[in-house]
């Protein structure tokens, strides 16, 4: 049963990753990446890590994909201009690197090098939400509260930056034409 679920999700993950690379439309690419993230989340579940499953869905399938889609739409990057590859050297370098990585993976799995972590059995409640919560509210209480300060800084940063951006646009709009060029560059 687990094997069936694993093979199905692994195939979906591979399909999502491949389709993301091949797709010419950046929005479609992002949505295929979402499919890939979802499949990876199920794989975490098969590894007995329900907390990672939920985190993967919330952060990657939620926040990261939203940011990708917004950046794509804001920059108008979904244009498929068929332009010539400006970084032509990247393709051969990427192929060589991918080949090296593949060779490394094959070597590790065939040579029998001892990678302890893979064979070690998981602790009974490893990465369960309860275990994470217990650790979070006892040992790591202070870092947890510090996180809220860091997130607060991020919220304020977003507000300050957006205020400045809109102020600039408003100011520029009322100025003479030479300043309009400045806003266009922005």
């Amino acid at each position: 049963m687990e094997l069936v679920v694993f093979i199905l999700t692994a195939l979906i993950a591979l399909f999502g990753a491949g389709a993301m690379l091949i797709s010419r439309n950046a929005v479609h690419s992002a949505l295929f990446l979402l499919l890939n993230f979802g499949a990876i989340a199920v794989l975490y579940l098969l590894l007995q890590a329900p907390f990672l499953f939920v985190t993967q869905l919330i952060i990657y399938a939620g926040a990261i994909i939203v940011l990708f889609l917004f950046v794509v739409m804001l920059l108008g990057a979904e244009r498929d201009d068929q332009e010539t590859d400006r970084l032509a050297w990247q393709r051969p370098v990427a192929l060589v690197m991918a080949g090296l990585l593949l060779a490394e993976v094959v070597y590790v799995f065939t040579s029998g090098v001892n990678i302890g972590a893979i064979n070690a059995p998981a602790v009974a409640d490893f990465a369960s939400p309860e275990a994470v919560a217990t650790a979070l509210f006892t040992r790591y209480l202070f870092p947890f509260e510090v996180t809220s300060i860091i997130l607060l800084a991020a919220v304020i940063g977003v507000v300050v930056l957006s205020r400045r951006a809109t102020h600039d646009h408003a100011a520029v709009a009322t100025q003479a034409t030479d300043l309009t060029q400045l806003s266009e560059r922005r």
Binding site: E2, A133, S148, L151, I156, S162
Partner: protein, 136 residues
Amino acid sequence: MRAVLYSGYSPNELRTAIVVATYAFIGLFFVAAATFPLLPLIAARFLRPSRPTPIKLDTYECGLEALGDIRVQFKIQYYLFALAFVIFDVEVVFLYPWAVAFGQLGLFALVEMAIFLAILGFGLMYAWKKGALEWQ
């Protein structure tokens, strides 16, 4: 569960089986949720007549003729809402284990989470006060 333990499964396999069985329900809901919108779409494809004309295939824009390119730059303010969403999304990651283990954690964790939420609530208040949530 003890009976299963003796039936030749390793504890590791058993844990995986429990996790899969627990979350199989979510999987069923997901399959049902995906089937409901797909079924009418697939059925419509086979049931409807297909007689396309150039006018039928044209972009529909409230009955007017479509002007310009379909790809326009979206308003930058959408991005700010996206960023705010990401921040409060991260907050949910902390809320989730807290909610799951709420019974075992007791009053102390409740106070701690209240402080956590209050600090982030201050951020929301700040954004609100500064008018960052107003549409311009």
